[in-house]
Amino acid sequence: MTATTTADRGQSRDFGPSARAVAETVTDPELPLLTLADLGVLRDVRDQNGTVVVEITPTYSGCPAMGVMRADLVHALHRAGFPDVDVRTVLSPAWSTDWISAEGRRKLAAGGIAPPGPAPARTSGPVPLSLGPTQRTASCPVCGSPDTEEISVFGATACKAMRRCRTCAEPFEHVKEI
């Protein structure tokens, strides 16, 4: 695996701020109001023998945007003067909505999408069954009311659920916890 932990990142020399700064400007193809860095999809940018190695992780296994993300990162870095770019997928640890930054959450809310609450705890062993209505809460991004209900746990993209505000009746999307 090429997954890097915080501990072994120290072994590779960083390019300095520039390559990382360029990569951090690239936006998500499906949520263009957020950068890949805001989403926690951009895992690492480092120098490896003169090549910019960028690591990204898919939000969901079926994320159809990975190819576009890879091309956008390569394109942005080429334009910024980095000719050798290697974008690698890392699968482990699996992406979590807890990795969405505070800035990313602010941008989501400003864009009318309710940000996720804390992700379910990751445990080993069997996954308990949940049969009741989902207990997630999300405030309406339009009027701010906390009185909202889930319409469907699946939305227009893999990472979003659909909710409705009981106060202003506006439907809205919610990045679901994973």
């Binding site: 296994s61 091309a71 997928t89 699968l91 482990s92 992406w95 069997p126 049969l131």
Partner: protein, 302 residues
């Protein structure tokens, strides 16, 4: 090189020769992932096992996709399509892992050389080369039966994936760890539908019960390990499906009882069928739909 559109950028990134028209083309799911096989693991067995898990997901995704434009309500159509997309993503990762250890069989001879391994496996294998269980290939029936089958298939797969998180193959372990979160959503969503339908109107109850009765016999082969699974379980790579029986039985019993549905007699175990390439004619029909266009135009690009 001018790159004015996303297509230009993608095309440039892949040599500017156009993309195969039917598959995944631009996006390699294991790009940059270390696919070295740890010592002591037989690559042929690992590849065969990844085909089993990958084919389960690919075939079930295709079955679920058949509901698109036909689901009872728009929100549910989106949910079914989302579930299928997650499974398709798992299938891509697993077929790519199978390809990375050379488990390509005759597919590579039939497919155009530029087509990625995962697509060669998905589009250019014949039915007897598929390794999915009969549970996922049976026609979906009505919406109630579809949700019962999804409940059963997701419960089995989640139990398997939860244990595979500690597989000695780090790629398989990572795929499983990611899949667990997705499968939890699938299982619990299907379970809530079974509750609503079972404990709903007399019509929804009787149709959900008919779905249960139709799906239950398909469990007969699910807990029977193949020789490949036995060897890989001993090597710390796979899990023996028999070891998931207690969890699967408990989950399904809990859902059905709460849904006021009758739990049928659990079928007696039979030797593995789908895992060894023995399939129903329905798989041939399904694959004809899935593969037909790609096989008629194997070199088409866009």
């Amino acid at each position: 090189m001018r790159e004015e559109t996303v297509y230009d950028a993608l095309d440039h990134a892949h040599g500017g020769e156009g993309q195969w028209a039917f598959g995944t083309g631009f996006d390699e799911p294991l790009a940059g992932v270390d696919t070295t096989v740890p010592t002591g693991i037989d690559p042929a067995d690992l590849g065969e096992y990844c085909l089993m898990l990958g084919d389960d997901a690919l075939v079930l995704a295709q079955r679920l996709t058949q509901w698109v434009t036909a689901a009872p309500e728009l929100e549910e159509e989106v949910a079914v399509a989302n579930t299928a997309l997650d499974l398709l993503g798992q299938a891509r990762l697993l077929l790519a892992r199978a390809g990375s250890v050379g488990a390509l069989g005759r597919s590579r001879e039939r497919a155009t050389p530029s087509i990625p391994d995962e697509d060669a496996l998905a589009y250019f294998r014949d039915p007897d080369e598929f390794r999915n269980t009969g549970l996922v290939e049976a026609p979906g029936g009505d919406f109630g039966q579809t949700m019962v089958r999804l409940l059963v298939a997701a419960t089995v797969r989640l139990a398997v994936f939860a244990q595979l998180r500690t597989s000695r193959d780090p790629v398989l372990a990572a795929i499983a760890a990611k899949g667990v979160h997705e499968l939890t959503y699938h299982r619990d969503h299907a379970a809530r539908w079974v509750l609503r339908l079972g404990d709903g109107t007399p019509t929804s109850h009787s149709r959900a019960q008919a779905g249960v009765d139709a799906v239950w016999p398909l469990l007969a082969e699910v807990f029977s390990p193949t020789d490949v699974e036995r060897r890989l379980t001993a090597a710390g790579v796979a899990i023996d499906p028999a070891g998931t029986r207690a969890e699967v039985t408990a989950v399904l019993t809990q859902v059905l009882e709460q849904a006021t549905l009758r739990v049928p007699a659990w079928p007696a175990d039979v030797p593995p069928r789908g895992r060894t390439g023995q399939h129903s004619p329905e798989l041939t029909t399904l694959l004809a739909e899935l593969q037909g266009l790609a096989r008629q135009h194997p070199a088409a690009t866009w």
